[in-house]
């Protein structure tokens, strides 16, 4: 894996899980793996924070789970996005983009610029 993997920015894990599930329903390990892959190994997700996050999102009704056969024919708990989760993702994405744009502007500011 290239580069040194980083811990996630506080509070972004929920958003990343939602995004991952927006593509397709996945089981726990698959979600972790997908985040790692898409970020090209920048982020690794620790199972110790992954599972509480699942429980939390499930409680909030943003994701729902059911047991299915996995790709290698074992039983696994698959998580899928609910309608509320989809809305939440949309909202979070917009918020996040607004924030990063603002931060980028601040960081790019040159002296004399107001």
């Amino acid at each position: 894996m290239p580069g040194k993997s980083k811990e996630l920015v506080q509070g972004t894990l929920d958003m990343l899980i939602l995004k991952t599930l927006a593509l397709e329903p996945l089981h726990g390990y698959g979600i972790g793996l997908r985040i790692q892959q898409i970020s090209r190994g920048v982020f690794t997700v620790n199972p110790g924070s992954l599972f509480p996050a699942f429980r939390r999102l499930e409680r909030q009704g943003l994701i729902k789970a059911d047991w299915r056969a996995s790709e290698n024919n074992r039983r696994a708990k698959y998580y899928a996005l609910t309608e509320a989760g989809r809305k939440k993702l949309k909202y979070e994405t917009r918020e996040w983009q607004a924030q990063t744009r603002a931060i980028a502007r601040i960081l790019a500011a040159s002296p004399g610029e107001l």
Binding site: G28, F51, R59, R74, R75
Partner: protein
């Protein structure tokens, strides 16, 4: 919606815990498998992949714990664990638990009992419809020192006609009746009320109806009964409505019965405060309606109109005062002595609660202190326990329990103790409240409906939680926070642990002693006041005096001559009864507020208001019966009758005030301009004519037989028709009452003799208030003292056990048992001394609150302060003695070997 979902999920997790756990386990398992499969695909061997996957997952238990802690149900569950654990530890030390729970139960119970009374008396609204709009109206001449005078009839009718601030106004007036017709004749306290009063209060009768407006007129003889009278005299028969009863030998039709807790008038205001057993229409007579400036004895109730503020009503009251004054006949107006008439308006509730507020507040402070002391006591116990549990706590911290987690657990234990104490306290309060009400003097209004409301329950719950925090927080904080390594090290050696613990314990015990001292000083002051009251020379000799009221209703005795005749015969015949030494009659008895009259003194220019002097009408050998000493001149004789020159006897205080340095005999005074002069023929000693704690007032005595016909036969005020017979007996006065009553009935069998009592009993009931205060506060103080003694005993006993080693060394080095004894005793008294200093300072600040309850004793009375402090130190010494003795028995060899 999300809340609901969280709730449902949480509940599911709680009730299907195993399933949820299994699912989590399965999920983790499948995670590891998926991870391993991925690694195999990347080229690892099966075994290696599985191991790497496990490693990657980390501790499955930690993850599970994290997942579990997501939901609220987890919090609940750990609470459950804490409670179970606390119950187990409490069960393991039953001695500690019982003492702590009992201590708290007494503290909380006393508070709850008093709170339920305070709640009903001070905090609850009056039990009427929309009570905050109910007002009381007075007349007032503030410039001449009479800010609150009950209303006169003509003034009331004027107010009723022209006021705009109130939606209704009505008058209430006490009236005693002779109740006969069914059963024995009886004296009952009743009230005349305007027809508007009942609708104004908005309380419906349980039977029948109220007066109609047209019944509020003379000749309409209808009556409404109180629930109590209905039950007592008529056995609660519903058929009573429509029947006739005799009031003052006139037939009245019963038209209704009021509900059980209905009280009217309410106690508290200066006039018309006796709860009535029945009510009749006010029905002003034409004489009353014309009686300008005659009698001021109506209580006026009014309901504020919607949208009108108290302030607006008050300013209307001032204007109305001026308007009424303008209507007054000129010859009466001069009695105002230039003062402007105003009509003050007060919320009724203020009038009712005002007189008892200081007493209840003092008691509330006292009982609050008791609770604080109980808390301090339990806190010291907890600190001792914490020392014993230090090892356990240190171990749990070492195993990863956080400070907040331990704190929570220790506080759960305190809360459990407090709730147990609170529950038991509630039972105590229930019982204590009834005791309190039984003891309470009649000055405390509304006791009959001091119910145990939800408010009191809530109070107990709140008090329990608060006390748990109070006594649990410091020890728990201290215990849970002890440094890790340090505690583990210290836990091995019990000696060193005690230092910090002792600091806390010493502080608690010193505080306890200080608070107890405050209570003891308060109680001491009240006891000393009460002692002074008991030993007050009342100016007469109360022993062996029987007293009773002999009322003569106007219907049977319309003429003044009939009244004079009966009373005169009574005064002549009763002394000849065997066992009777002397007998006399008077319109009021000593200690029971005399009627005040204005006087004009010859040769003394009228400046401002004429003196208002207590006056008693006497007949027969009243002075000899009461043993009021004659100081100068003569007593009344059988020659002082209707047509002889008017005479008067004055008290010494009166003589000193109005004729200082002169001989008052032969001087003259009169009530009013057009009345005859009365010549002073004698001077008698001063007596306490009002409550014992009120200073003595100047007093005059006039012969009953010289009263005018009008005054004697007068019905409304009823004083002259209701003379008291006082009898000095040879033996126990109470045992003579039936002979005396028989003598009265031999003159008129229908007279309803009332208020049969003895003078010692009159004194005792006049002291009921101070006695109640003193005994209640003493009870609290005694309890506090007891708790403090236990506290100091507990601390020293614990310390002696902990310092056995040190004591052993001292003894091995040659300390004698008496040295050890002295050392432990000094320790105990040092704690008490520290507490005493703090207590005295606090008491100096707090006893000022009770100034109004004291008599003849300053709030900072040095004797009380010193005596009580000594008592407290003595108790501390005594409580230290047992542990000190135990310390002297320490065997140095065993003590040293123990370590």
């Amino acid at each position: 919606m999300p809340k609901l979902r969280s709730l449902v999920h949480g509940l599911c997790a709680l009730f299907r815990k195993e399933e949820s756990e299994r699912e989590l386990q399965d999920e983790l398992h499948s995670y590891v498998e998926a991870s391993a499969a991925e690694k195999v695909r990347a080229g690892m061997s099966e075994d290696e992949a599985r191991r790497a996957a496990r490693l990657e997952l980390g501790s499955a238990e930690t993850i599970k714990e994290e997942v579990r802690s997501v939901g609220w149900e987890n919090w609940l569950e750990t609470c459950g664990q804490d409670v179970r654990y606390a119950l187990r530890t409490l069960r393991k030390s039953p001695g500690f638990t019982i003492i702590a729970v009992l201590t708290l139960a007494l503290g909380i119970g006393a508070n709850a009992a008093l709170f339920s009374v305070v709640n009903t008396v001070l905090l609850q609204p009056l039990p009427f419809k929309n009570p905050s709009r109910l007002m009381m109206l007075y007349e007032g001449l503030p410039q001449v020192g009479s800010p609150k005078i009950p209303f006169s009839t003509p003034d009331f009718t004027m107010v009723r006609r022209s006021q705009k601030s109130f939606e209704s106004v009505g008058a209430v007036q006490d009236k005693e009746f002779e109740l006969s017709g069914q059963g024995e004749p009886d004296r009952v306290i009743g009230a005349r009320v305007s027809a508007s009063i009942f609708p104004m209060l908005g309380v419906a009768p349980v039977l029948g109806r109220f007066f109609r407006p047209e019944e509020d007129a003379p000749g309409q003889n209808v009556a409404v009964l109180s629930y109590g009278l209905w039950q007592r005299r008529y056995g609660g028969r519903p058929g009573i409505v429509g029947e006739t009863i005799d009031l003052d030998r006139q037939a009245y039709t019963v038209i209704g019965v009021m509900p059980k807790h209905f009280v009217l008038p309410l106690p508290g205001p200066p006039a018309n405060f006796l709860p009535a057993a029945l009510w009749v229409p006010m029905a002003f007579t034409s004489a009353e309606l014309q009686g300008w400036g005659l009698r001021y004895d109506l209580s006026i109730l009014a309901r504020l109109r919607r949208g009108v503020t108290l302030q607006q009503a008050r300013s209307e009251g001032e204007a109305l005062g001026t308007a009424i004054e303008a209507q007054y006949p000129q010859n009466i107006l001069k009695d105002f002595y230039g003062a402007r008439l105003v009509l003050p308006v007060f919320p009724w509730r203020e009038e009712v609660t005002g007189p008892v507020r200081p007493l209840l507040l003092v008691l509330m402070v006292a009982v609050g202190l008791v609770l604080l002391i109980a808390c301090a006591n339990v806190a010291t116990l907890l600190v001792s326990r914490a020392a014993a549990r230090q090892h356990e706590i240190a171990l749990r911290r070492a195993l990863g329990a956080t400070r907040s987690r331990l704190l929570r657990q220790l506080l759960t234990e305190s809360l459990l103790l407090a709730l147990l104490g609170g529950g038991l306290g509630l039972l105590l309060a229930f019982w204590g409240k009834n005791m309190l009400l039984a003891l309470a003097p009649s000055e405390i209004p509304l006791p009959q409906n001091a119910g145990f409301s939800g408010g009191a329950l809530l109070f107990v719950l709140g008090a329990s939680c608060l006390t748990a925090l109070l006594f649990g927080l410091a020890p728990a904080w201290h215990t849970a926070g002890a440094g890790l390594r340090q505690s583990l090290e210290e836990a091995g050696r019990s000696r060193a642990t005690s230092r910090t613990h002792h600091g806390l314990q010493n502080a608690f015990v010193a505080i306890e002693f200080g608070l107890s001292l405050v209570l003891l000083i308060g109680a001491g002051l009240l006891i000393r006041s009460f002692g002074k009251l008991l030993n007050t020379d009342l100016g007469f000799q109360p022993d062996h005096v029987l007293a009773m009221e002999v009322p003569l209703p106007a219907t049977a005795y319309p003429q003044a001559s009939q009244i004079r005749n009966l009373y005169q015969r009574l005064a002549e015949e009763v002394p000849s009864l065997p066992g009777v030494k002397a007998a006399g009659m008077a319109d009021d008895l000593p200690l029971l507020a005399a009627v005040f009259h204005t006087l004009e003194i010859e040769g003394r220019p009228q400046v401002g208001k004429p003196p208002a002097i207590a006056e008693t009408w006497v007949l027969g050998n009243y002075f000899q019966t009461m043993r009021i000493p004659l100081v100068a001149g003569r007593l009344f004789t059988s020659q002082d009758v209707e047509n002889s020159p008017p005479v008067v006897i004055i008290s010494q205080g009166m003589a000193k005030e109005y004729w200082p340095g002169q001989d008052p005999i032969g001087k003259r005074l009169r009530h009013e301009e057009n009345q005859p002069w009365m010549t002073v023929v004698g001077v008698v000693g001063d007596i306490n004519d009002g409550p014992v704690n009120r200073p003595r007032q100047p007093h005059i005595y006039t012969p009953f037989l010289q009263l005018s016909d009008a005054l004697t036969a007068e019905n409304v005020i009823g004083v002259a028709r209701s003379m008291n017979l006082a009898v000095r007996t040879q033996s126990d006065p109470a045992s003579m009452s039936s002979e005396v009553v028989a003598q009265i009935h031999s003159l008129d069998p229908d007279v309803a003799v009332a208020n049969i009592t003895t003078m010692p009993r009159v004194i005792s009931s006049s002291l009921a208030g101070p006695r109640f205060n003193a005994s209640l506060l003493s009870l609290f103080a005694g309890f506090a003292l007891f708790l403090s003694a236990i506290g100091i005993y507990g601390v020293l006993a614990f310390a002696v056990t902990q310092r056995r080693h040190e004591i052993g060394i001292r003894m091995a080095l040659g300390a004698q048992p008496r040295h050890v004894l002295g050392f432990v005793l000094a320790w105990g008294t040092r704690l008490a001394r520290t507490g005493a200093v703090f207590g005295i300072v606090a008491a100096l600040a707090l006893t000022r609150l009770m100034k109004g309850l004291l008599y003849g004793v300053a709030a900072t009375d040095p004797i009380t302060f010193a005596g009580v402090t000594l008592l407290l130190l003595g108790v501390a010494l005594l409580a230290s003695f047992i542990p000190a003795r135990r310390a002297t028995r320490v065997d140095p060899m065993i003590a040293l070997r123990c370590e």
